[in-house]
């Protein structure tokens, strides 16, 4: 017998029933409307009452692990089944209801359809993290063709964590739907460097919503590498509501005959807050992509410092691209800059690389990877995080030995960057 539905689940369902789906002219979605509500509903099935457990096979479903086994005691994971009322209460505890924005519909839909949950608590240990930040890998694969996971990551005050979030999709599987909600909450003085790779199969439909809340003096950096699909929404909302909090977002986005919608909403309400957004989109063929950045500086956000930079480069074909940098400033003592540019491929650099012996395709791939890498590096302010390997002589020998023994380094956005750029160019050519 199924357990009785939870009150919040009923509320979500009622809300969807009364408010309907995202209106065709909704501001955030008017350039790239999402699929209808029915696309985001799970096919009818009996909800499971079997509690989820951490998979024994780390390549399945989802899991979090420390890169350094000695750091395994610095975080706690809880796998929770929202079909079980007690676990659902634990999973959603302390999370805000979806706000009133256009995108809230995805939030309500997620509440109504959430099937699995994971909470991660990262302990604060400033003394240990000063020497070496906690390095975690979060691996996520769809649990089913319809997937609505909820992740909650709490980073305790003073902690410093590097998190590599890797999504795995199977191009040979049937078209999938994923509606992911991720809540990140940083304690006082905490820092999270968040590396994300999201490369869905061409026929998949995705909506990822991140909600980031920062306490006083907390820092959040995100480097996102994502490619387009039948529908792909990447929305990040960051609340800088405490003094001295800071956030940087760098995104390298690839859309080849695919759709991709990036929405970034930043809210500065406290003094001495900082945010920087930089997105680079490479689009080709009949891609349809939108970069939408909105930064709000509220009254009282003294000395807020904000930057927005959006750039799109068509690599071939006639992609449809919309850049929407938007700042809403309600305070005088602030620094703000924003820009949006439609660029061209760097012809001189391409010729230079070819003159040195690289064929045209290799030169193009190398240069496009470089352009993306530069954006991601600026977001993280630490190039080594992208390679996961230091070129320092003292570590070179170890790295060489590891490479020759076939040991990869999992903390490596560079490899994903190379692979995804090659795929982009291959699809562009096709």
């Amino acid at each position: 017998m199924s357990p009785p539905p939870c009150p919040d689940l009923l509320d979500a369902q009622a809300r969807l029933a009364s408010h309907g789906w995202i209106a065709p002219k909704a501001e955030n979605f008017r350039h790239l409307p999402p699929p209808p509500a029915s696309a985001w509903l799970a096919p009818p099935a009996t909800p499971t009452t079997k509690p989820t457990t951490e998979p024994s096979d780390p390549t399945e479903s989802w899991h979090v692990r420390a890169l350094d086994a000695a750091q395994a005691d610095q975080f706690i994971t809880q796998y929770l089944n929202p079909a079980i009322p007690a676990q659902r209460a634990m999973l959603f505890r302390g999370l805000p209801w979806p706000d009133e924005s256009d995108a809230a519909h995805f939030g309500w839909m997620h509440r109504a359809t959430c099937q699995r949950g994971l909470r991660v608590h990262i302990a604060g240990d400033p003394a240990r993290h000063a020497a070496a930040p906690l390095r975690l890998v979060l691996h996520i694969a769809p649990a089913a063709p319809f997937d609505a996971p909820l992740l909650v990551i709490d980073v305790a005050a003073g902690a410093h964590c590097v998190l590599l979030e890797q999504h795995a999709f199977d191009p040979s599987a049937d078209a999938g739907v994923q509606n992911l909600d991720l809540h990140i909450r940083l304690g006082q003085g905490a820092r999270l460097q968040h590396l994300r790779t999201v490369a869905p199969a061409p026929h998949d439909r995705l909506a990822h919503q991140l909600h980031v809340t920062l306490a006083e003096g907390a820092h959040y950096d995100q480097a996102l590498l994502a490619s387009g699909s039948a529908y792909h929404l990447q929305r990040t909302q960051i609340d800088l509501h405490q003094p001295g909090s800071a956030a940087r977002m760098g995104a390298a986005l690839l859309a080849a005959d695919a759709t991709l919608d990036q929405q970034i909403a930043l809210s500065h309400t406290a003094a001495d807050t900082y945010s920087a957004v930089e997105s680079l989109l490479l689009a080709s063929g009949k891609a349809h992509a939108v970069l939408n950045a909105h930064t709000l500086i509220a009254t009282g956000a003294d000395n807020a410092n904000v930057r927005q930079r959006l750039c799109a480069i068509p690599t071939s074909g006639q992609p449809r691209v919309v850049l929407r940098p938007h700042m809403e400033i309600h305070h005088d003592q602030v620094q703000a800059a924003h820009g949006a540019t439609y660029g061209a491929l760097p012809d001189e650099a391409l010729f230079y690389a070819r003159q040195r012996g690289l064929d045209e395709a290799s030169a193009l791939a190398l240069i496009l990877q470089g352009l993306q890498r530069a954006v991601l590096e600026r977001a993280l302010d630490d190039p080594e995080l992208l390679t996961g390997m230091s070129a320092a002589p003292s570590r070179l020998k170890q790295a060489r030995t590891a490479a020759r023994q076939g040991e990869g380094t999992p903390l490596n956005l560079d490899a994903a960057l190379a692979r995804m750029t090659q795929q982009h160019l291959a699809r562009s050519t096709a």
Binding site: A349, R356, E360, G370, L371, R373, L396, R400
Partner: protein, 265 residues
Amino acid sequence: MNTHTTGKTMTQPTPLLSVRDLRVEVGERTVLESISLDIQSGELVVLMGANGSGKSTLGLTLAGHPRYRVSAGSARFHGQDLLAQKPEERAHAGLFVSLQAPPDIPGVKNALFLRSALNAVRASRGEPQLDAFDFLKDARALSSELGLDAKLLSRPVNEGFSGGERKRNEMLQLALLKPRLALLDEIDSGMDVDGVRAVVKQVQAMRAQGTAFVVVSHYLQLIESLTPDTVLRLDQGRIAETGTLALARDIARTGFARQSETAEV
């Protein structure tokens, strides 16, 4: 036909590079009217000329830059039709052109760029690929010889490099790629005294191994140090004069304007 050949032509084999009546246009403008020259392996030719005379255009055209359109003439390099080849095929054949202003390549580590280029050239020669570790060992040793800070290997190509560092980086590429013919376009500009000495040392060492050079420069001190076989003066898209070191000394003393007047007389 205004053809430059060395004085040893009668006893030399087929030239490494043979250019005949080359005419080059950029947009609607003709930059090179008619250039003919032969260069042998191991030869060092200095190319002089006033600004806008076509020195850089010659190098970029030979390298296959898409902006430069060849409307007449021919160029054979190492027995092949150079103008029919793609830029990378010319590089694989052994042509290296050092740019006057090497561009930045944001986000691409210098070491990765150099290794990728070197491995592409090695692949074309049927040589095995170098892994990152062997490459770095060689690159660091050569950087040290050139006075190039090895830290620049881990920075993006030319990004934030000083003028001298860019030129040293070009010399590092030259040393790694070991071409048959190198065209160095104002390699000395922006370089300090030590850098220029390192250039001379490297050029002489490679020349002794058979690499031919075309060096574009305005500075007599460098030209004298290189002990060229031939000095060419380019004027309005043509080779106006062919000579030896004495010609370079004359130009340094009298200037290009005076030289042009003399030639017309």
